[in-house]
Structures are given as structure tokens and as C-alpha cells.
């Protein structure tokens, strides 16, 4: 692990906050950390493109982009004392953080917990294409066709890992592709 990698904390509600919003890219939070008494945004569909109905304090969205698109509007109406919690894949955590920062939230107001898949979002440093859900050490860029080595270098601003051409020295000399980022993680 390289030093610049973000470190995440276990999920817990900050008692100093007055209002709280929990957001996850999962359909539901694992039972042992679920917070039924706190407003929770999830990503859950009952059919393609159709979000699951709301239940209790939980509101489901049809996709991660759908959830994210509602967040900045919601934050613009919140008052000081608000706390935001993101739980999910690393890329999702930083998508949330970037929206939160733009709304004026900062240190002590946003809490990130990595949960679920360890698959990576990869940024092609050659053509700027984002590749979602990469499970392997090397991935072919769908934008420019480069064989990208997935580095451990994570950009918080881009919410993605850096992908650099693995066979730049000797074209075609690509190491074996291995699945390394797929495990469920809690």
C-alpha cells in the first residue's frame, strides 16, 4: 500500500451532529451496521431502471448516478450541524466527498467507510477514459485501446486509480492478467 492511499474509518454516527444522512451504493447495509432510525439513501431496483419503493427512513435510487444527482440539491437545503456518511466502493466514496466539498462540507462533517466490492475505477492517463469496476491488475482501455496497468495511486479528485500503459517499452509485451480486486470487503 502506498502512503497516499486514503484511510477509511469504521462506520459510526457522529453524536455531535444534529442531522444525519447515510448514503450507500449497496441495495442495503449489512444488518450489523444498519441504522433504521436514520435517513438512508441506497441503490436498489425492482426492475431495470425502476427504483425500489421507499420504506421507513430508507429511500432507494435506480442507480449511483441517480443518487449522486439528488445529493447536491439536498445539501444546498441543509443547515450547519449536518453529517454525511458514505459507505461503499472507493470510487463512490469520493464521488460523494467531491459533491459534499462543493456544498461546503469538510473535515469532521463527512465520513467515508469502504464497504462491498474492491473493484476499482481506473483513469486512463493517456485518453482520460474512466473504466468502471476493474477487477484485474491489467485492463484494456475501452477509449484508446491501451493495455493499462492499474496502479495503487488513487486520485481523490478523480475518484479513480491511475492506469498507465503497461507495454510502453515493448509493445505487446503484456504480463499475465490476474483477478486481484474482486473480493467482498467489510
Amino acid at each position: 500500500m502506498i502512503k497516499s492511499r486514503p484511510i477509511y474509518t469504521p462506520f459510526q454516527i457522529d453524536p455531535a451532529g444534529r442531522t444525519h444522512l447515510v448514503a450507500t451504493d449497496l441495495a442495503k447495509l449489512p444488518d450489523h451496521i444498519a441504522t433504521p432510525e436514520i435517513e438512508t439513501w441506497t441503490v436498489e431496483t425492482i426492475a431495470p431502471g425502476i427504483a425500489a419503493p421507499a420504506g421507513g427512513m430508507t429511500r432507494a435510487f435506480r442507480s449511483v448516478p441517480d443518487l449522486l444527482s439528488h445529493l447536491s440539491h439536498r445539501l444546498s437545503r441543509e443547515a450547519a450541524g449536518f453529517r454525511l456518511y458514505a459507505l461503499g466502493k472507493e470510487a463512490f466514496l469520493w464521488d460523494i466527498m467531491n459533491i459534499a466539498r462543493a456544498a461546503g462540507l469538510g473535515s469532521g462533517e463527512v465520513f467515508l467507510t469502504q464497504l462491498g466490492s474492491l473493484k476499482r475505477r481506473v483513469y486512463c492517463t493517456h485518453c482520460k477514459t474512466m473504466v468502471e469496476d476493474v477487477a484485474t491488475n491489467i485492463v484494456t482501455c475501452p477509449g484508446c485501446g491501451a493495455h493499462l496497468f492499474v496502479r495503487d495511486h488513487f486520485s481523490r479528485r478523480l475518484a479513480a486509480f491511475m492506469g498507465v500503459m503497461v507495454d510502453a517499452e515493448v509493445p505487446g509485451e503484456v504480463p499475465p492478467v490476474e483477478e486481484v480486486y474482486a473480493a467482498w470487503h467489510e
Partner: protein, 307 residues
Amino acid sequence: MARIKNIIALSPTIKRIIFEPADGNLFPPAAAGAHVIVSIPGPTRVWKNAYSLVSKPGKRAQYEIIVRRVTHSRGGSAWLHDHAEIGQMIDLSLPANLFPIDWLAGKHLLLSAGIGVTPFLAYLAALKDVGAAFELHHACKLSEAPAFEALLRPSPHITLHTSRNTLNVTELLARQKLNTHLYVCGPASFMDTVTEAATRAGWPSAKLHTESFGGATGGAPFKARLARAGITINVGPEESLLEALEAAGINAPCLCRGGACGECELPVLGGIPDHHDHFLSDAKRAANNAIMACVSRAKTPELILDL
């Protein structure tokens, strides 16, 4: 070195003092919130007091401070009121800023009381310059209201409060949007009231900016034994440990002289400090192995310092 260029009485207890560089050059630029340490040449000793710069940030031809005569002055503010004269040479430190504006804020909420408004006079110039959103609430005694009214020129964004009833801090804090930063400066009781209300409202510490003032107060005299130097100095009832060290010719580090910056921390090898600073954590305070020389004193007759 600086020369006193002008002294303007704003009220019977408040004076504006304007300095210009003694050598005809320019002062270093200072941002909003910066302070300078003024060496005040008293008859028996030199007082070193920190004052916020109230001149327009970046202005280099002159520095301005505002001095309120403290009722129980140890001498510094009284000397500036009674003996400072135009043309006098005064030693000023380089400016330091422990209370800068956080420019990432979407709005700046400024709360001050009494002479604590001084850093905000520089803030207002800087905020207005760039068109930043702000709201200032200033609390003061009725008798001083005319002076502060003249300084602040109340507007829809600037409110003067002469009664505790009109400034509802809890309500004010609760209706701020997420991108508001809070800045507080005033006497200890005002700071406590506001920071407690902010904590109750869930205000994160990263958005709460404070600057207290008042500096050292006197207390029981004590001895400070400097273990490495092998000498013992006496700290009198009217001087601070830092001042006693300076009087003994020891060049101790310092920056704010008000217990806020942490610059003057000294390791304590023996004795129990009487902490008056705002810097040390509760754990560090309880460990009794460090002291802020500028404001803290001793609970024991002697302190042993690693100096």
C-alpha cells in the same frame, strides 16, 4: 523600527495608533487577521503586547492598531493611552497571522464583542474587496456603541448589539448553510458562549475559527529553574514566565503571547504548571510536562524547565 505617525481618539477608552516604517521603506504585507507584537517602553520594563492590524490588508505604507484602555492594565495599554506620542519610535515585530480568513468558505459569519472586533476590521476590507458573502454581529457596551458604530458603519450585513437580548447566537448558528465558516473574537466569556453554542449546533471544529486575547494576567510569584542553563529566575506577580525569561536575557521563542499559537511551549521537568493557554490538549495539560510560557504560571513554588 516604526514611528508613530498619528494617534486618533475614537472614544475616551479607545485609540487608533498609526505606525509608519522608521526607515522610509515599506512594512511587510500582512493578510487579514494578522497581528504584530508592540514593544511598549514602560518606565521600569518593556511590555510586549499583541495587537491585530486593522489597516487594510496588504497596505505597506502604514500599520494601524486599535488599543482599548484595559481597566486593570498591567501597564501596556495604559502607557499607549497616556504616554504614546506622535513621532515616537516603537519596536514592532514582523506580522504573524493565527486567525486567517478561510477563503474556501461560501460565507463568513463574524461574531465579536468589545475590542475583539479589531481583526474583523481588516477582514471587512478583504471580504468587501472580493465581494465575499459575510455577516458580522458585534456586541458592545451601550457607552461604547458610538465608537463601534463609527468603525463598523452598520449595514444589512453588519449589526451592532448593545444588549444580550438581540444577539441570539443559537438561532443564528442553526440557520447557516453548510458552506458558512464561523469566526469569533472577544473576551473569554463571549468566546465560551459562542463556542458552546456552536458545539451544541454540531458545528465542526474545522469551520470554527477563534482568536482570544487578553494575554498574560498576573498571579502568585514563583521560581523557574532552568535545568540546562543551570540558573533560577524569579517570576514576579505582575510578569509572565516569558517576560521573566526575556528580562533575564533569554531569547525564548514566542509568537502570539496570548496562549494560542503553541510557539512558546517549554518542556517541564518538575513542579506543576497552572495552565492558562488555549493550545495544549486536555491530555497534555494533565501530563504536566509542558507549559506555555506566555500565559501559564505555576501551582508549585518552583517549576523546573528543560531550558
